[in-house]
Symmetry: C2
Subunit: 353 residues, 2 copies
Amino acid sequence: MARDEKVGAPGNKRLRKPAANGVTLQHVAERAGVSTATVSRYLSRPDQVRQARRARIEQAVADLGYIPHGAARALASSRTQTIGAIVPTLDNAIFAQGIHAFQRRLQEAGYTLFIASHGYSLLEERIQAETLLARGVDGMLLIGLDHDPGLYRRLDKLGTPYVSAWSYDRRAERPCIGFDNHKAALAQAGHLLDLGHRRFGVLAGVIRDNDRARDRLEGVRTALNARGVALTPAQVQECPYELGASRAAAKRLLALDPRPTAIVCGNDVIAYGALLECQASGVDVPAEISIVGFDDLPLSEHLQPALTTVHVPSETMGRKAAEFLLARLGGEDPPDKVELAANLILRASTAPR
Amino acid sequence: MARDEKVGAPGNKRLRKPAANGVTLQHVAERAGVSTATVSRYLSRPDQVRQARRARIEQAVADLGYIPHGAARALASSRTQTIGAIVPTLDNAIFAQGIHAFQRRLQEAGYTLFIASHGYSLLEERIQAETLLARGVDGMLLIGLDHDPGLYRRLDKLGTPYVSAWSYDRRAERPCIGFDNHKAALAQAGHLLDLGHRRFGVLAGVIRDNDRARDRLEGVRTALNARGVALTPAQVQECPYELGASRAAAKRLLALDPRPTAIVCGNDVIAYGALLECQASGVDVPAEISIVGFDDLPLSEHLQPALTTVHVPSETMGRKAAEFLLARLGGEDPPDKVELAANLILRASTAPR
DNA sequence: GCGCCAATTGTAAGCGCTTACATTTTTCTG
DNA sequence: CAGAAAAATGTAAGCGCTTACAATTGGCGC
């Protein structure tokens, strides 16, 4: 067995980097003249340590520059004080705001956030989730309600709290904090119908593995059907979340004869593509074509014309999702379905037919 | 204390959640009829385990659904297989692409990424960094070269590899992989000068704690000075990375008499603000005013007029940064200053005076 | 001051895994 | 096939911390 292979000493053969920064709880305890248990308690529940010792420990911690060793803590306590979030993409702003609010709230409570992205692939999402779980996250945020069923089982089995954001479905069997995409899409289409439009084009996001895109498209269909407006396959274009693709899809819509007088978009980026394509083709918005988006990204209100779109309460959603997880981690049992409003904001990209 | 509030086993007094998922290395070892050491070796360097046992272990792992316990691993090995990245913001797309590439590369090598943001505050950055270090990240990515000096000391002391991206300075004393912001700004302004512009407006990003914004502004100043063009304080507006603010700043520029014929922007979002403000005020771009941006966000080429801007090689930067860290972690000593090109892309928002 | 109860502390057993070192097995030489 | 070197395995000591439980202390009423 090793005998004198302690750190500090030169000529040491160990190649592992000194844990954390070399100072351990033990050192602090010695310096403060108390047991490690007391220091540990001081760290997690200071009020359980008598004032006098508290001061001594405080001093020792400061003198030594002690930083608790996260892994050791996690191992001993089975809690990591980390939360994982898996979003479809980091490539654009939609989720950024919500995640940011989520993170802020968690941080206030002493949790750190692990962010991963899956590029709109449920399989990849599952893999990322396993990685996060192996890292021991205490809770998890997912986007939407479409997930690998095995993932839910896994989370339930582990007893790891989780919540979905960006979707709300009163019939959902899992906790979710979000808005009703179907209902919002009803409003999108309804607005255009009210303005007198009857020839539509729909630029949906990619439906596969994406309940939000699907619900939105369904909502539009439902709204139109209810007013006796049918949609041919050519009038519905599915396109990825990207400007080039959405412009191309919009172009196909503009080539239709008769040309649609209104385009409903699955999100704002797609709407930007539609808008830009119209401008490039010399089609006036909203005089000749009305366009409505979904997300209300920061740019939308500034565009020329400003985009009529559905405002998504990402900030609130992020905060509430964090609060839900924190409550669950605190042993509470908060309401696990929260619906937030996602209202249509009327701006200049839509006009009467 | 509570006593019988356990989940699984009845009558159990422990309240901690079963580590990972209940099955440990020990269980696998027993089932496979080998020692824990062998299983551990199988997990990290399978080729060191004889084929026959390998199969038995494989089977046991599969049967039991074993997942290694991250914290225990980290504690025992002093390696977490995680990397931390601290970016100024997640609120927009600039860093998203680079980080994404960074993450992809790390993932290939079995590392997981921790992302944090500091909202352009060096103090906050320091705090976030400490959190990540306490979590035991094996390496760290920073943006730019402006950082709390204590942070560098801390990293050096811990021996944690790190690298800065988005900036390149041949005189920098720390590893950096990026481009020369000053040089790129020279090109921005030079282009406008070449087109015959002499009355400028500058919309810089917030300089404080931000070497990139500062270098860009300096670059513009240098270029103009070299051609004998001076800048009054009113011609230089510093504004935060946000549309409302940049529109307001642009508005002040447009109100100047004589009005600038060209506006150099510290980044694309600011340029969008300028462009939108011009459109809103009925000032034609580029006929009456030329605008040049910096970043080349995806939207820039699609805008009407398409934005002349500096293309930032974020993808490459992210990948190279990851490779640098991986090399350092592998004990290599890769070149620690890498300059990438950031070229001006000429599009329709600039025209001869 | 004394006795009692509650508030504080200390003791020490792990948490699940890695790894140095010792031991056993295999493979190679001659 | 003996003997030595190489390869594979086992043994067991931690990694730094939390936390039951036991032991101590302090505060108070009389």
